[in-house]
């Protein structure tokens, strides 16, 4: 795989759809909205056309912040706060490690990180059972 990539000379510079600046603006507005009204925003990166290399450019701009979380439910998920507090990058993988979805979420804590009521109820029951066993 690597040897093939090395033998092919592919120029990828110079492409741009021009989608990055408006996307960053959208993120900025969303952050403002979060601060003012407490509303969260999710952006689906798959719905935007990107030129080769452009998405990486975006991720580079967002960078890696203080928090990085790994989730394991129906495959892995990576949840990373960008260098901008409140701006999160969420990547869902399937069991084969293939990307299933890429989102930018502007929120205090991504919803998926919070313990879910149904799960907690189930856990409560399980804990109860465990206690009874003891």
């Amino acid at each position: 795989m690597n040897s093939m990539q090395n033998s092919l000379k592919v120029e990828i510079g110079g492409y741009h759809t021009g989608n990055i600046p408006p996307l960053l603006h959208e993120i900025r507005h969303a952050l403002r909205n979060l601060l003012d009204n407490g509303e969260t925003t999710t952006i689906d990166l798959r719905s935007l056309p990107m030129a080769p290399g452009e998405q990486q450019q975006l991720l580079d701009i967002l960078g890696k912040g203080e928090i990085s979380v790994h989730l394991d439910a129906l495959g892995k998920s990576e949840i990373t706060e960008s260098i901008y507090a409140g701006v999160w990058l969420i990547i869902h993988y399937n069991n084969n490690g293939e990307v299933m979805g890429k989102f930018i979420e502007i929120t205090r804590v991504p919803a998926i990180l919070k313990a879910q009521t149904a799960d907690m109820e189930e856990s409560l029951a399980a804990l109860q059972m465990r206690l009874e066993e003891i």
Binding site: T17, D44, G75, Q116, T117
Partner: protein, 365 residues
């Protein structure tokens, strides 16, 4: 088949956590090209969704569509969807064969009468029923039979949706699309040669989630995936607008990734999600690989006047037409001109000198 619990319950029983379910909903929304804000509604719908029975019929086709589907990231979320639909008949994929396979089909039809989903790939030959049969049953007959009690039909691939390659001029088998035969059922076309895998599963997911077909465009395609044309979403579009084109596949323009319009790219008339969803797990799509779009999700793409001729060129030889026009026009023009000259000389020959006496009418003076 009797295992028909609501999806939420089924998933929980499989040990999928609520987090996992939410992740599933988020990626399903993305799959259906729905905005993330729809996730709660999707979660609610999926919670109570029941797995439908699906019958998949393959007619005049190359199995490319099925290949595409199976090349999607199974066993994955799509796989999960297939876990949650009951694929009761698919002669390429199912283990059963021969009479047993047909029996499974008939059983599924009987059990889910009026509720099952029919998926078709491949076109149907009308020329001679013998051109394509399954278990001795002609495609036409089988389609009519299965369609009769189907809740809805999904025509997967351009052959099923619009006739596709078998339909290409001169269409030796008399191939037609599903919608040309079945007129009284909701049909959704998922064209492409093949369609993007997640688009196939996305439509299935939509049916699974909401129990109905998505919103369609004028060609029966789900707007969520076919709402934009390739040209408008293409990352090379700025080059088109600037007038920068590749003129050959190995010139400077081609190397610099300029617009492929002049090399026959059919992007401007092609509606598909290639430019956004891309292929091979979002890796690339034909234009990104340096080749123009063939327009495979459009009817008659095979006859669009040559894959390498620009869209604005005629599909016929204009120069020859013009030459014929010039020859005929020159002859006809000369003939008409000669007639005019004769008429004029006649008028001149008939000329009688005008004298002052001729300047006033008899009746006036």
């Amino acid at each position: 088949m009797s295992n028909n619990k609501p999806l939420g319950q089924a998933l929980r029983e499989q040990g999928v956590s609520r987090r996992g379910f939410l992740k599933f909903c988020a990626t399903t929304a993305s799959l259906m090209a729905l905005p993330p804000s729809m996730v709660p509604a999707i979660a609610k719908a999926l919670e109570s969704a029941r797995r439908p029975s699906v019958i998949w019929l393959s007619f005049q086709e190359c199995t490319g569509c099925t290949e595409s589907l199976t090349r999607s990231h199974a066993p994955t979320l799509e796989g999960l969807i297939f876990d949650n639909i009951s694929l009761d008949y698919h002669h390429t994929l199912q283990a059963a064969s021969g009479d047993a396979a047909e029996a499974a089909r008939e059983a599924a039809m009987e059990e889910n009468k009026g509720n099952y989903l029919l998926v078709v790939d491949g076109s149907i030959p009308l020329g001679n029923p013998g051109y394509s049969t399954i278990a001795g049953i002609s495609n036409l007959e089988m389609l009519k039979e299965v369609a009769e009690h189907a809740a809805a039909i999904i025509a997967v691939g351009t052959c099923a949706a619009y006739g596709g390659l078998p339909h290409a001029n001169p269409n030796p088998t008399g191939a037609v699309s599903v919608e040309e035969i079945i007129k009284d059922k909701p049909i959704v076309n998922v064209p492409g040669c093949p369609p993007i895998p997640v688009v196939i599963t996305g439509v299935l997911a939509h049916f699974l989630t909401f129990g109905k077909l998505p919103e369609l465009d004028h060609l029966g395609r789900p707007l969520a995936f076919y709402g934009n044309n390739i040209h408008d979403r293409c990352y090379r579009r700025p080059f088109y607008d600037k007038g920068l084109f590749a003129n050959t596949f190995d010139d400077e323009g081609a190397r610099k990734g300029w617009c492929l319009f002049k090399l026959g790219c059919k992007g401007p008339v092609t509606y598909n999600a290639c430019a956004t969803i891309k292929w091979n797990d979002g890796t690339s799509f034909p234009i990104e690989a340096g080749h123009g779009c063939l327009g495979c999700s459009e009817p008659n793409f095979w006859d669009m006047g040559g894959f390498y001729n620009a869209l604005s060129e005629s599909t016929m030889n204009l120069s020859r037409t013009a030459a014929v026009g010039i020859a005929v026009g020159a002859a006809a023009g000369t003939a008409s001109g000669l007639l005019n000259r004769r008429k004029k000389s006649k008028a001149e020959a008939a000329h009688e000198t005008v004298s002052v006496k001729d300047l006033q009418r008899e009746d006036k003076s």
